[in-house]
């Protein structure tokens, strides 16, 4: 019964949280309307995601978000230093082909977004069979090491989060 009413509990919680943030209040009336939408929207949009991603809510997810936020700050200083202090001729940009162990489209999307937000890399494309991710690095002396870092730091953690 509760599963029929709330097919996506995570999405419902996210919608309610967004609603409260948009209204910038914890007023019960606002929360009630928000809760109504949080129940209705996943119900009516359920046909759009026949294969729902199995997300484990827990400490690994929180740890991943904190890690990515920390890396975004570090990446900003890193890239800013490269832009300001490095001559254009010294840049060694590289295309990286990252082999993927993740299977679900949602997990690969999160990984690609993480790569784009963190140290000197932008994800560009995925291979047709979904086994490789094309990544562009701004400056790297060690492409293999960069690939290993992405797999070790982000993909390993995402495998724990997406069942």
């Amino acid at each position: 019964m509760i599963h029929r009413l709330l097919p996506h509990p995570g999405l419902s919680a996210l919608l309610l949280a967004l609603w409260l943030i948009v209204f910038n209040s914890l007023n019960p009336g606002v929360a009630l309307i928000g809760a109504g939408f949080a129940v209705a929207v996943p119900l009516f949009s359920a046909p759009f995601w026949p294969e729902r991603a199995q997300l484990r809510f827990g400490w690994p997810l929180v740890a991943y978000v904190l890690l990515v936020l920390y890396d975004i700050v570090v990446a900003n200083f890193h890239v800013a230093k490269l832009i300001v202090f490095k001559a254009n001729k010294d840049f060694r940009p590289a295309w990286l082909s990252v082999p993927l162990d993740l299977h679900s489209a949602e997990a690969i999307t999160v990984l690609a977004g993480t790569i784009s937000l963190t140290p000197g890399t932008v994800s560009v494309d995925v291979s047709t069979d979904g086994r490789h991710l094309l990544v562009h690095a701004l400056h790297t002396d060690d492409p293999e090491g960069e690939i290993a870092l992405i797999k070790q730091r982000y993909e390993r953690r995402l495998k724990e989060i997406f069942a």
Binding site: N24, I72, G113, V122, D125, T128
Partner: protein
């Protein structure tokens, strides 16, 4: 609130605004200075997220401090920025490799340093057909449009 704490928070706000402005400036400078499109893409996707982020945090601290009410909208702006920055960068990069590597009319203009994904019969998704795509070749022709390369 004690004056000393208020001064400290003001100093924090000032620091965050200067930091944010600096990062926004460096991101834009990278966009202007770096040599090629793919390297230029790194300036706006990284440096600017922290630039805008720092200014938004400063705004969240300043308004309650100076008589305004707390506003949570800055959190939403940050969230939407983190959602949209990688996607727009991804779209620009995909359009770039699509035009640059396989569809050029002049062969000498084609760079060959884009790695192909290992494995038989696979290609990057922007060039190829997904495995789930309809097998009927006329359908795929219509979807993709005429290929200009041989």
């Amino acid at each position: 609130m004690t004056p000393i704490l208020s001064t400290a928070l003001d100093a924090l706000v000032a620091f965050l605004i200067v930091l944010g402005g600096l990062f926004a400036l460096i991101g834009s400078w990278g966009l202007a200075k770096l040599p090629a499109l793919m390297t230029r893409l790194h300036g706006p996707t990284k440096a600017t997220t922290l630039g805008v982020g720092a200014i938004l945090v400063a705004s969240m601290v300043w308004f309650p401090l100076h008589g305004g009410s707390f506003s949570s909208h800055e959190l939403l702006i940050t969230l939407f920025l983190f959602l949209s920055a990688p996607i727009s960068a991804n779209m620009i990069a995909k359009a770039y490799i699509h035009r640059r590597f396989r569809r050029c009319s002049a062969p000498e203009d084609v760079e060959s340093d884009l790695p192909a994904p290992p494995g038989r019969g696979t290609d990057w998704a922007t060039f190829g057909q997904h495995a789930d795509a309809p097998a009927d070749p006329s359908v795929s022709q219509n979807l993709q449009g005429p290929r200009q390369d041989a």
